[in-house]
């Protein structure tokens, strides 16, 4: 699958043109944003809250780290309002590791995102793990030079986020539960919705494709492109509840381009070993022998205990879903 560059915003404000000596450098283009996400493929992005965890993640082979104030499991326990991480900690981590740094901002909180852009993080996650600042709108991400990743639990949400300028999608899953079931549901749903529009596209039925676009609350162009490609037009990672190497392999085999692990690593009792094991299983997801080797590296007694996702008081995945 090659990179798709159909941008629905013709003149994004996030594009910057500079002349340096004899060269004209163009920054913040759709190609550079989506290209950055493509470099993360087949990798594991790990949630971290401090330098020590970031160093463990890098040494284990994380493709990037996601900085947040509390791991999703702790956000759930603490209650209250969850906001973006302390800038000081983000900067300390930026100085300590060579891999890309991502950080979360609240849904619709343009100014938290702007702060993260100025700090210089490599990607911003407009995340439902934090308390939404705007229940009805997401950030207009075309205004940023920094690429964004957004969560989605169905095709409509994913395409609406791409239309707003995000360069990468992840399933929402149900963060901080140690339960992979919701992530599986979301990727299965996205896959089956894509299959449906693809068959409409292959039949050449434009009326039906337009009907699908209206149901998905997204532009016709976006739906047509997705149907033609037979996949999301941007890189799509799995997230939410991944705890073991086999969890990562399961989601990779369902067609995800990579995985995010939130609480699963640093809320376990064997984080360094587990981090390496999850990377190994993600890299060799389709080689059952190596996934077994990876699974052998972790002790189930040390896994995050996890919780049933059916009776949760807080369902983070529902945040921002109607916008």
């Amino acid at each position: 699958m090659t990179i798709s560059l159909v941008a629905t915003e013709p003149k994004p404000k996030g594009v910057r043109v500079d002349v340096v000596e004899n060269a004209q450098l163009v920054r913040g283009t759709t190609l550079l944003k989506r290209g950055f996400a493509h470099m993360q493929k087949h990798g594991v992005v790990m949630d971290v809250t401090n330098v020590e965890q970031a160093v463990i993640a890098e040494e284990a082979g994380a493709v990037a780290v996601m900085v947040l104030d509390k791991l999703p499991y702790d956000v759930r326990k603490a209650g209250g309002v969850a906001r973006t991480a302390s800038i000081k900690i983000i900067q300390e981590i930026m100085d300590a590791v060579t891999i890309p740094i991502m950080a979360k901002c609240r849904i619709g909180h343009t100014d938290e995102a702007r702060v993260l852009e100025v700090v210089g993080v490599d990607m911003v996650d407009e995340s439902e793990v934090l308390t939404p600042a705007d229940e009805e709108r997401h950030i207009w991400k075309w205004d940023f030079t920094t690429p964004f990743v957004n969560g989605a639990k169905n095709l409509g949400e994913a395409l609406r986020r791409i239309e707003e300028g995000c360069a990468m999608i992840r399933t929402k899953g149900e963060p901080g539960t140690g339960n992979v079931a919701e992530a599986v549901t979301h990727i299965r749903l996205v896959n089956s919705e894509i299959r449906k529009i693809r068959s409409i596209y292959q039949d050449g039925d434009n009326q039906e494709l337009m009907k699908a676009a209206r149901e998905l609350k997204v532009s016709y162009v976006m739906v047509e492109e997705t149907a033609r490609l037979g996949r999301l037009p941007v890189v799509n990672f799995a997230a939410g509840g991944i705890t073991t190497p086999a969890d990562a392999a399961l989601l990779m085999n369902l067609g995800c381009d990579g995985v995010f692990v939130g609480s699963g690593i640093f809320k376990s009792e064997d984080p360094a070993q587990r981090a390496r094991a999850v990377v190994l299983a993600t890299t060799f997801y389709n080689d059952a022998k190596i996934v077994m080797e990876a699974q052998k590296m972790v002790d189930e007694k040390k896994s995050l205990l996890g919780m049933d996702t059916k009776n949760l008081e807080l369902r983070m995945q529902e945040r921002g879903q109607h916008a």
Binding site: M1, T2, I3, L5, D18, V20, E21, N22, A23, Q24, L25, V26, R27, G28, T29, L31, L32, G35, F36, H38, M39, Q40, K41, H42, G43, E58, E59, A60, G61, A62, V63, A64, M94, D95, A96, V97, T98, I99, P100, I101, E117, G120, V121, D122, M123, T145, T146, P147, R276, V279, L280, T283, F284, I290
Partner: protein, 216 residues
Amino acid sequence: MSSKKKSLTIGVLGFQGDIEENVAATKQALQDLQIEGSVQLVRYPEEIEKIDGLILPGGESTVQSTLAAIQRSLPIIKKRISEGMPVMGTCAGMILLSKRAYDRVVGDTKQKLIGNLDIVIERNAFGRQNESFEADLSIGMLGKEAFKGVFIRAPAVSEVGKDVEVIAKLNNKVVAVRQKNIIGTAFHPELSGESRMHRQFVKMAADSKHGQKNDA
């Protein structure tokens, strides 16, 4: 090509990064050149033994050299390159091929490198993602028309050995090199939307296979 030609097999190292884009660009190059051949994802030593040329994709170089399962394949790659197998590394791929790498901010990195390419790499030489850029490059071996260089958290070459030819520069920074059967680029030709660089590499692999056949 001789009448006895066998189909060319190009491998793309399949651990991490933009593997699929390199597969697509190489397939396009084979088609454009009308060379009979296939592109394979390779990960294990026995797969690497069988190919006629290898592409090391972009991605995160730290990751691509970290896992023990990956480290088992690196000596085979080193051996095959020393024996003359054509190889092209883009961005992280070039870092893996280099003999030494250091990070602009963090300094020397402990990462394991293949080391056949006699250059020193400055990682993240242009800055973080916000400083990633597209710029037109003049690359002699690809003809007069400018080539769109896509630089994503790109490295640069800070020192070149005596057998290394500089094939592209951006202002004062070296961004592409060639050393006999090895090509390294700091940018991502697989994202340029055209196949000129991959064609150059496929030609190199085809010539090398053809040459070996004549020698045999």
